[in-house]
Amino acid sequence: MSGHVFHSGHQELHGITVVLDLEAGGICIGRFDREDESGVHLLNVSRHTAGVDDPSPEAFIRHTARFGVRADEKAVVLPPASVLRIRRLSEFDSAVP
């Protein structure tokens, strides 16, 4: 994944708002801080649990892309094995329909 590193010594995604697809089926959206042996560290995180939360995961991501991240949790660490995929929130269309 390409991108700018604005703080020397930090990882490429540091400071970038990302969408994490979780192995258990949920989604976390938050600002990437770092990744280490304990997992992916996110700040100001919004979560969606598939099959529990409405709307659908896709609609949740689109809504967040348009209206911003509702920071329900200040900081979250997601174990490496629980994270299937990391994408930038900016990849998702936030255009007004």
Binding site: H4, F6, G15, I16, G68, R70, R88, S90, S94
Partner: protein
């Protein structure tokens, strides 16, 4: 806790140089954003180097566009806390982020650029998006 004012002063100065009016108090925000007519761009400034370092230059580039908002104002997140909180009350329905930019027309948010739409993007790309929004929403009210 706000940063040392001396540290953020250059970031304030950068906004003023491009013609933005700083709003540091709640009454100043209400005066600028209450009962609006025409077009106003609100820039939520930030010390964050990940995004604000590109956001400010992008607005400077966009303001060189022929069509631009009638008013450009700025609040400083993490610094002028009450003013920023008040300004965000006018962005009904949008989650707070900084830096961010909200374009108003007659008191309604017609275009929003969140922090996640600024991160990692070059200033020219953000400026192009802003200029397109200016063309769409400010064309009949440009100064």
């Amino acid at each position: 806790m706000p940063y040392d004012p001396r540290l953020v002063q250059p970031m304030r100065d950068e906004m003023v140089r491009m013609g933005a009016q700083e709003l540091k108090t709640v009454p100043e925000v209400d005066l600028a954003l209450g009962d609006q007519k025409g077009t106003t761009l609100v820039f939520v400034n930030s010390v964050c180097g990940c995004a604000a370092g590109n956001a400010r230059p992008s607005l400077a580039l966009a303001l060189a566009h022929q069509v631009r908002p009638q008013h450009v104002v700025t609040v400083f997140a993490g610094q002028d806390l009450e003013a920023t909180s008040r300004a965000r009350q006018y962005f009904s329905g949008y989650q707070p982020s900084s830096p961010s930019m909200a374009l108003f027309r007659d008191g309604e948010v017609v275009h929003m650029i969140h922090r996640h739409q600024i991160e990692g993007r070059p200033p020219q790309a953000i400026a192009t998006e802003l200029a397109a929004a200016f063309d769409r929403y400010c064309a009949t009210s440009s100064v």
